[in-house]
């Protein structure tokens, strides 16, 4: 139990947190998600996990059907910005854990390109934090998706 108490967010511990790499070359496998969930079974202060997964849609566009999205990023800036978001979220919500993974490279339709995972003692914090991370990540992180069509032409993805 002591290690869990030690992991609770407080300003001293927060200032020691280091920026984490959120990028993953290629799609995020379901087995990786399972391992990530499994690792939390020793953290018995957790009562709820909230997970958001982004999956590549085979959208029909005026330029054809999307078969994959090729993601690139300004990685240093994205990691730095994600660190700011992480600190803000830990300051705002009583979270036990927070994990964010985003794919780089070509991700095929049906594959997972984003994995956001939050955990807390009571469900509301995990759920609200997860939603806020997804919104901020899409608005603030310098990541770009190039949609590759079935005829190999491409167009740049636009977030709504």
């Amino acid at each position: 139990m002591e290690s869990q108490v030690g992991r609770k967010p407080n300003s001293m511990i927060m200032s020691e947190r280091k920026p984490k790499n959120i990028f993953n070359q290629g799609a995020i496998p379901a087995t990786f998600i399972a391992e990530s969930i499994q690792k939390h079974s020793t953290q018995t202060a957790i009562g709820g996990h909230s997970i958001f997964l982004g999956q590549i849609r085979a959208d029909e566009t005026e330029n054809g059907k999307v078969r994959a999205i090729d993601f690139t990023a300004y990685e240093d800036m994205a990691i730095e910005k994600m660190h700011v978001i992480r600190e803000d979220i830990f300051a705002k919500y009583p979270l036990t854990c927070m994990h964010v993974h985003h794919s780089l490279g070509e991700i095929a339709a049906g594959e997972i390109c984003l994995f956001v995972f939050t955990s807390s003692a009571h469900r509301k914090a995990a759920i609200d934090a997860c939603n806020e991370i997804v919104e901020r990540l899409k608005a603030e992180l310098p990541i770009w998706g190039r949609e590759i069509m079935s005829d190999d032409s491409h167009q740049w993805k636009v977030n709504k």
């Binding site: 990023a73 899409k138 310098p142 990541i143 998706g145 190039r146």
Partner: protein
């Protein structure tokens, strides 16, 4: 003033270059004008300028040590 630029996404596609060194660029407004002269398509393209990994919103003095990046609208997630 010599500045070093990194270009991302469709900006790299439009210019055909991911990196660029430009001379006589004292500030960010001059940078935009110079780029628009070199690549007229950029004038119609929305982008932000990041200086040392922070987006700038006003005309800003640039130095040779700056890390300047041109960022098209984000579309991660």
């Amino acid at each position: 003033m010599q500045v070093h630029l990194t270009l991302f996404g469709q900006l790299a596609e439009i210019t055909g270059r991911k990196e660029m060194i430009l001379q006589d660029i004292p500030d960010s407004e001059t940078l935009i004008k110079t780029l628009n002269d070199m690549y007229p398509l950029l004038a119609n393209t929305k982008y932000a300028i990041a200086l040392n990994k922070k987006v700038i919103h006003e005309n800003t003095i640039l130095s040779g040590d700056n890390n300047i990046a041109l960022l098209p609208p984000f579309s991660g997630g």
